[in-house]
Symmetry: C2
Subunit: 299 residues, 2 copies
């Protein structure tokens, strides 16, 4: 696999990210009647830019299966709501204490800690509302979609990863623990973004299984590169405070494996992700490109 | 309506609360594989006593309609998970900053703020998991139940009430605002506990409508009495820090209306609640008794 940075902008489906942004904006119209500060904070956090990786993966999966992106849009946006909620709570002083998010003051810096906690809570609830109100699927399928997302986000998923993260900060952890942490904290919601799309689009169980392996691997690569960029990328490029992981004595891939070995693992996992879908009877280009993008991204 | 404190212990269905406790304990077995600190914090908060008012109302509604309590148990316990999550986040230093809950250290005092935020997040997600995994209803009905709960808990419900609360603390608010705040913060989840039960038990729309009026009124009474007890009840009796609302310059019924008028409003709303269900063809005794209990409770 030969890649260079010149490929970067051709690899990521910006058009899909733009569709996500457009639809997120539309869904936010549902919140015109709620208390003003909550509405403002929700809008600020949801429309704060970002790559929209998770919803883009949801749309890309639908496209690759031959299903319309509109068909999975509510679920894609619901997953972005959950991702946004998790960032708001992550950034809180009691957790990562990060003042910057995507180059702007994080939610608690802008609105106060109380509103930040509550905005996260609101977005988590409203993510399910998007699916309940707008996802055009049979009741059984909607329940399957909800179940995938809740498992990914809950006590055996994202929250478990976060708890391991805060509990092991400042102590040297094992490599096994680190992978468990990232699998839960990052990969599971990425896997859910892909699997829910495949479920809505009636993919068979072989496709679902392969896509899960793809998702798990690109999720881990995403996190490894995130850890590397935390060290190498300036605050201006990443929109996050440079060196925050080191300041917080976080366990990361580079801190446990070193930079070179971390890059090597990321490359191997990217190859594994691409390999996992290569025999599927779907249009693989977009998912393959996204996997490559995640490996060589610079922000 | 003549009531005296001697009636108190006969009015509340302790047997239903015991059933709730038993089932909550069983459901917690699902969390044996999650990170130890999260499991411990979930167990500590969920099994920390309490009246179990919301799940008891869910079971009581089922009984009054002639449906078994087992039929609604997963939903009843899911609502208690949500209530527990909301208390954990409420108690945080950035919100109510309360060190005591039910006579014991609140979650963040016991486990730290980071774990408290995440335990709340986990319980919120897991509440939906209880319904998805254990609620024995048709897919369509399950979606209806989820929709009721999510609307009650989300940006147009409990979180909206909380945002009004933190935003108006220290400023004198209007009576209209106060009622809106309590309706969202307290009544909506109580209404959801009753309505979801009625939906699962196939109640018709007239019954649902009357039960909603009942729920709204007892919810407001519950909050008025809570505000009164915050002033009159010692920390030892209530398990919460006495006078916390005054310390926090909170807007409450007594602070806006005075004690006597607050008691009068509570009595009128209790009568309205009882009146709203009196013509229904269901067994009204248990719901009527709970309404009376809420008015004269001492903790």
């Amino acid at each position: 696999m030969m890649l260079n940075k010149k490929n970067l902008k051709d690899l990521y489906p910006e058009a899909l990210a733009a569709e996500v942004d457009k639809n997120l904006k539309l869904y936010l119209n549902d919140y015109n009647h709620i208390p003003g500060r909550l509405k403002e904070a929700i809008g600020y956090c949801v429309l704060n830019g970002g790559k929209r990786l998770r919803p883009v993966l949801c749309l890309a999966t639908a496209k690759s299966i031959g299903c319309s992106i509109e068909q999975v849009m509510p679920t894609a946006c619901a997953i972005e709501f959950i991702h946004t909620y998790s960032l708001i709570h992550d950034d809180l002083p009691a957790i990562d204490n990060d003042d910057l998010r995507r180059g702007k003051p994080s939610c608690h810096k802008k609105f106060g800690e109380d509103i930040a906690i509550l905005t996260g809570d609101a977005l988590f609830a409203e993510s399910f509302n998007l699916i309940l109100k707008y996802q055009n699927s049979s009741p059984g399928k909607k329940l399957e979609v909800l179940s995938e997302i809740i498992s990914a986000a809950g006590a055996s998923g994202m929250v478990a990863g976060q708890v391991i993260d805060v509990s092991s900060t400042g102590k040297r952890t094992t490599k096994k623990n680190l992978e468990y942490m990232h699998l839960n904290k990052t990969s599971k919601l990425i896997i859910a973004a892909i699997r829910t799309s495949a479920i809505i689009c009636n993919a068979n169980s072989d496709v679902l299984k392969s896509l899960s392996i793809y998702g798990e691997n690109i999720g881990l690569v995403f996190q490894i590169i995130d850890d590397i960029l935390d060290i190498t990328s300036s605050t201006g490029t990443s929109g996050k405070t440079q060196g925050k992981d080191i300041d917080n004595s976080k366990n990361t891939f580079p801190s446990l494996w070193g930079m070179d070995k971390s890059r090597k693992i990321a490359k191997e996992k990217t190859e594994k992700a691409i390999e996992s879908i290569k025999d599927l009877d779907i249009d693989k280009k977009i998912l393959t490109d996204i996997a490559k993008f995640i490996l060589i991204r610079e922000a």
